[in-house]
Symmetry: C2
């Protein structure tokens, strides 16, 4: 199996100022082509360390994909280090990248500076893969077998995730032209509503009976629930996929309604799939989640077809004035209560005219009130078959609570719409 190492270059990663999201995206793309990522390494903007560490990774792996350190500023030294590592005898200009640089800066109304043009200069030992979203080109270096004990290749991508992502297809094409690939079958199931340990206990009879070459992983996440990933390395893809399918059919009865998708996705995408083309619409009324549910729903392209809008009623006055919540209800039941969640959900349906709505009212922060502790949220879902509410209780961390509240609300909405769809079919 072709092996890859992914290296991230930059002091900003090592001192923890930014989180590396490139490695994750690159390893997914490699995995889809049957290339196994065996290591990910982050190293500093230090010429000698770059050279020695990349040499080691090129010895251990067939392919090294590195990102970062290609900016126009003085702290970026990856290009010089790669020139030395690859035995370059000088720099040459990529005319095509220079055209892109000029167009890119012109479109944004920026001046073309010498530092920008310098980015089109690359070591003569590399093959250029154009960067169409930025100024620094991708550099591909191919090494003969005698250099590292086997044929090896190194790809240097820009560190900006948006640019690295756009360059990936061309990089993968070059990789596939030079290295053999193996089939890897992954299937991911999405569940929401059960903690990892409860889920594990629930499906233990099924898990214990899995064939020995199938590997199951649990991936808990506050906004998507627990993902279950089933993998087989090697074998014929079509046959392995059929075997995984059979196992999934055996697993389904254990999971019931907690299973919300048979591929890697999100609650907001599944809700979009349920509503798209149905003529039904959605709105949200958010207090403690502060707009996060609307934000998640509108990350989905085409959401304007079914998402009408949201009222973020952070202040009680907005709950009453815009959503028509009765101040007496807030007074008698508490601002974080089933009645207020229901009134908010019904209010925003009235204001926007949507088919469905979801509302949240809770204490995201370290304080609650005499009725409900911190970490509590009441979710209301309203639609043609009435209004339901549910209480969820989490921890004491603001950002994490906002995420969990939003996910719990989306899940309650998902179950409501699914029930509606099922009863509509009957």
């Amino acid at each position: 199996m072709t092996k890859a190492s992914i290296c991230t270059i930059g002091d900003e990663i090592l001192i923890g100022q930014i989180v590396d999201t490139n490695s994750s995206r690159i390893s997914r793309a490699l995995g889809d082509r049957g290339i196994q990522t065996v290591r990910m390494v982050s190293l500093p903007d230090d010429r000698q360390q770059i050279i020695s560490l990349l040499s080691k990774e090129l010895t251990d792996s067939d392919i090294v994909v590195c990102t970062g350190g290609l900016g126009p500023t003085k702290d970026d030294i990856t290009k010089d280090a790669l020139a030395e590592l690859s035995g370059s005898r000088g720099y040459v200009k990529s005319e095509e990248q220079e055209v892109i640089i000029r167009e890119f800066l012109h479109a944004r109304g920026l001046d073309v500076l010498p530092a920008n043009l310098q980015q089109a200069m690359v070591p003569d030992s590399c093959k250029v893969i154009l960067n169409r979203r930025g100024t620094a080109p991708v550099m591909a270096f191919h090494f003969p077998a005698e250099r590292f004990g086997h044929p090896a290749a190194l790809y240097s991508l820009p560190g900006v995730p948006f640019e690295a992502e756009a360059a990936l297809p061309d990089v993968l094409e070059d990789i596939c032209a030079h290295f053999p690939t193996t089939d890897i079958c992954h299937r991911t199931l999405m569940t929401y509503g059960l903690a990892e340990s409860a889920l594990s206990a629930l499906i233990a009879p099924w898990e214990d009976a899995l064939p020995s070459d199938m590997h199951l992983a649990y991936l808990p996440n506050p906004t998507t629930g627990v993902r279950l990933r089933l993998s087989i390395y090697g074998g014929k893809a079509a046959e392995q996929e059929k075997r995984i399918e059979e196992q999934i059919e055996l697993l389904k009865p254990y999971l019931g309604d907690n299973l919300y998708a048979l591929s890697d996705t999100t609650l907001e995408a599944v809700i979009g799939d349920l509503l798209r083309g149905s003529g039904k619409t959605l709105s949200t009324a958010e207090s403690c989640t502060g707009g996060m549910i609307a934000h998640l729903l509108t990350t989905i392209s085409g959401s304007s077809e079914y998402f009408l809008g949201s009222v973020v009623s952070y202040a009680p006055s907005v709950k009453c004035k815009v959503l028509g919540v009765n101040p007496a209800t807030i007074e008698s039941k508490g601002i974080v209560s089933s009645d207020v969640a229901a009134a908010m959900a019904e209010g925003v349906r009235r204001v926007t005219g949507s088919t469905y709505s979801v509302a949240t009212t809770g204490w995201a922060d370290t304080y609650g009130d005499e009725r409900e502790p911190a970490g509590t949220v009441w979710v209301g879902v309203s639609g043609p078959s009435g209004t339901v509410t549910k209480r969820f209780c989490y921890h004491n961390d603001r950002k994490r609570n906002i995420e969990r509240f939003a996910a719990s609300a989306l899940d309650l909405l998902r179950r409501y719409i699914e029930r509606d769809c099922r009863s509509g079919r009957q």
Copy 2:
């Protein structure tokens, strides 16, 4: 200088299904104590690879902090690997962690399963540091100098970021009790409004005159703008901080209004600082940003003091009905226009009664209309000194555009409020 390696254990990282955020948080915490992170490595759930790679890192670094692979499920094998690496002769129960496990599950209404209790069992070669937010305890292993050529320590933390973060202070206390520390001075300045290359050209005279032991890094980010980080390793902290301060004073005139903070922060936090205690309030009206501005504003603890709410008017009907935008304005000027952004900003101020408001209307997606191309947003800011609007134009990527639109809107709002504060003082 004490050196650290940070290791992440888990197939889910290597196949790219989740992004590692722990390493970043841990390296920041180590850096604050003058411990330099020299490498970050991610490795698979494979016993032999865990043992050999951690041994190598313990040879190269004084401290290894690893996360992950401690879950209650069968795919997690870090604990067994560490038992072997450390020469453990068996497992012992941490009575204190077992109490936490029972309390933790009880509080969430979950059953105590054998797999949960198994997490309180640790190798007899380790010292337990309690995990108060989850079930798997932190394990600290101290190795004598003869094992790796120098005194070394390995800390194994749970992979769930929320749990790892909570355990960090106790881990750092143990580290500081066993290893020397060095002063590292970092200062971060936040800028918004200039691209990395333009910023670099602007401050070149200052950067070229920096003392040779001061290191400047540019960290561009779509939601916070370009961070500038100035660092000095070694020397006396108080003296180095004074030298950095002097350089910052020299830099300020170059940056002008583009500089929005003298420490690592966000636009939404700076806006919170401007409004907190002022008695002034804020609301948002969001179309293309879909609630993201409200979400960012409400991630700030205490934002309920000044943030009243938002109307996410995704559908034109909500813009007219709730915000009072004149349908004739939408018809004559276009839905993405200066006039509609201004009317939305003024409308949400009227609805919520806030002092300030910010509004967005734009094309986040791949399509625009005959008036404005995809990637365009009009931002409106309204307040006591009138309404201003500004047009921003970005690329063709939905999620990134939503982020950039939200950041551009927050920055226009920040400049407006700052001007208001300055003129109020005069």
